[in-house]
Structure formats: C-alpha cells, structure tokens
C-alpha cells in the first residue's frame, strides 16, 4: 500500500497467541528500521490484544519511533512511524 509516497505495510495479528503481537511488531520494526527512520514507511498493526496497546507503543517509542493507537470496529489499529 502506498500513502502519498510513504510505503504502508499492514499486519493483521488479531487472534494470535499472546505475546506474538509484540514479538512480531519488534521484528518488523527492526527489519524496516531504515525506512521507518527516514519516514519512507509506516507500519500498521491490527490487534485485538488489549495489552498490545501498551506494549507496542512503549517499545516503538523506546526505539525512537512514534506510535498512535486508534480503536476500530472491534480491534485496535496501532500505527508506527518516524514520529515526525
């Protein structure tokens, strides 16, 4: 998916075993760190794990990224970007 020049990758990790949400998010943030830092990429995580709304933004911010959480129909959408 492309959003005005930014590449957007979406991960649907709803229903997965705890704590795979955070493990997957960490793995993807590390894999795409260059593109994330430069602002060329945004990662979206769809999760139904309430705890992930705490752990993923915390981890992202510790790594120097920005993170926002929005509640959708019956899940949470966590957006990780360069925070600028």
């Amino acid at each position: 998916m492309d959003n005005g020049g930014q590449k957007v990758i979406q991960f649907d990790i709803r229903g997965q075993i705890c704590p795979s949400t955070l493990l997957i998010a960490l793995k993807e943030m590390n894999r795409h760190k260059e593109a994330l830092r430069s602002g060329d990429m945004v990662l979206l995580f769809k999760t139904d794990n309430r705890d992930a709304t705490v752990t993923i933004p915390d981890a992202a911010e510790h790594m120097g990224y920005g993170a926002t959480v929005a509640k959708e129909a019956n899940y949470y959408l966590i957006t990780v970007d360069n925070g600028i």
């Binding site: 229903g15 075993i17 705890c18 704590p19 795979s20 493990l23 997957i24 139904d48 309430r50």
Partner: protein, 371 residues
Amino acid sequence: MIQNAYPLIIGTSLLLGGVAGIVMHRSDFCVVRTFRDFFLFGQTYMLRCLVLLVATTMVLFETARQFGLLANYPFPLLGPPSLANLCGGFLFGIGMVLAGGCVVGTLYKMGSGSFTSFLAFLGLIAGSVLYAEFHSWWLPFARATTFCPGKVTIPQMLGVRPPFVVASVLACAVYPCRRWFRKDAWKRRSAAEGYLQPWCAAICLAFIGTLSYILIGMPLGVTTAYAKLGAYAEGLVFPEHVAGLAYFRASTLDYLPPFGAVRLTGGAGPRLDAITAIQFPLIAGIVCGSALSALLLHEFKIYVRVPLRQGASAMAGGVIMGLASRMAPACSVWHLFGGLPVLATQSVLFLLGLIPGAWVGCRILVKAVVT
C-alpha cells in the same frame, strides 16, 4: 450455621468469578505475563503487580484471621511440601507460556473470544485426564519426597506465630512498593477503552481472593474442575475405565465450610460434589464476566484464522498445564494468589519451579512458535 451451604457457595463463586472476569479482561491481568514479560522483554511491571497482589492478600488474610473470619487456617487442600510441587511448578511454567495464559488467564481470554485460549482450555482438560492415567505412579513419588510432615506453612515449620513471619515479609515488600509509587511506576499509559490499571486489578483480585476465603473457606482455584470436566467427557465414551481410575475415585476435599453445619467432600471424579459447587460457578463466572466486559466494549470477536504453530502451541501448552496442575497439585492462581499469602511451603516450591519453567517456555516460544 446453615444446613445447606451449597447455595451460598455457588452464588459466591459465580459472583466473585464474574467480577474477577471483568477485572482481568479490563486490565489484561494474567500470571503468565509476570514471568514471560520479564524473560522475553526484561519488563518487570507485571512482576511488581504480582508482588503488590501477594502483599495485599497477605495483609487481608492476616487481618481476617485476627478477626476470626477464617474458619479454616491454613485453608483445605494444602498439605506438607514435596518435590512434586517443584516438578509440577516447573512443568506448569512451560505450559502456561506455550498456552499464552495460565489456567485463569485462559478462561478470561476465552470469554473475550480468543480461539487459541479455547484450544488451551481443551488442552487443559485433556492434560488433566492424562494425569489420571498415571496418578497411581506419581502419588508414591509425591509421598516419598514429602518433607516436614504435618507442617503446611513456613510459620508452622519455624514454630513461630504467622503475624511475625507475615510482618517480616511485608517489611521487605513495603519499601520497593512505596518507591515504585513515588516514581509513579505503577501507572501505565494505555489507549485500550475501559482500561483498568493492572495495579488496581491486583488489589481487586486480593479482595476477591479474601472474600472467597471468608465465604467459601478457600481462595480462588479451578484446576480440579478441569479434571472433573475431563472425567465427564471421558466417561461418555469409556465409563468403566473412568470408574476404575483411582484418581477419579478419590475424594481430595473434605472440609467444614464457613457458615455451614455439614462437612462437604469432593474430588475430580464425575459426580456432583463440593468441587462442582465451588469451581464450576467460578469458571462460568470468569468466562461470562470477561465476555460481558468484551461485549460492552464492542471487542468480542472470534478469530479462528490463527497460525497453525500457535494453535498447536496453545493446545500443547494447555495439555502440559493440565498435567502439571494435577502433579503439583494446583495452579498458579491457587498457589500465588492464595498459598503464598499464607506462606504455604508447597506454594513457595511451586513458585521456585515455575520461574525456570517459564524461562524454558519462553525459549521454546521464540525458537519454535513465534518465528
């Protein structure tokens, strides 16, 4: 004193289970997270919440005891320590990490629509039934490795009164807890709707456990009910085999409930007894409470398309936990929320086994399940 204590027991269990289900769903309070988050991510937040829960429960239990509100102290089903507690705790630690939730965590997650937790629930029942097959082999080991016969708690072993030991333990817990409060290290920032801070949940669960102890005669525990459910299910196919198993014939609970005039008995076998009255409503309450909480937040949704490895891990973890909870005997909630606050030696050994078990479970999880 009432002649028939069952309505009070069933009603209390259902109500406390319902509240616990809501509290755990809102805060995502699960024993697994306390150890797993530490081993996988170096996070100690949930570990601190567990310390708060145990310390608060310790104060509440001791206060209730001083006011004469605890009819049985220590509570029934606790016994002298044995190596079985340590081994069971170790296996339980592995199982709970692989299942993605402890025995109670599995229930509230299942209530909120988690399919993997439903698989873990099935595994728990299967593991409990599996234990019944080698109970007659395991029991002699548990008996042979029992030490300090007749001594259930550390104060009993030391020959001192409980308040002295409880005060010593609390003195150690108060300083770090106060320091964490000063550093504002208890509050978590969450965007989850209706979020309950886990430290508040810890205090709520301490009160729920204490009410259970006062009104039912023991703190929260559910694992014998898993074995009972399994016995009912197996009995539909192999009734004679189930009837012949020593584990299902045994009656492990025999106690006089608070406010009751008649002793109650119960066991894992497929029959209506005190275990049915205490644990089945608690299970139903937790599942329904969590489901209600999820429905009110519009978050109830069942996702069945989960990676095969994760589904297999949840079920295998459930089997291991079910087996371990019978070997130990009992589970993390029984030992950590109930046994540790009375300083039961069994519970201390269970915890000592649980910690390395959770570490092994974390290694397996990252190497083989979430790859």
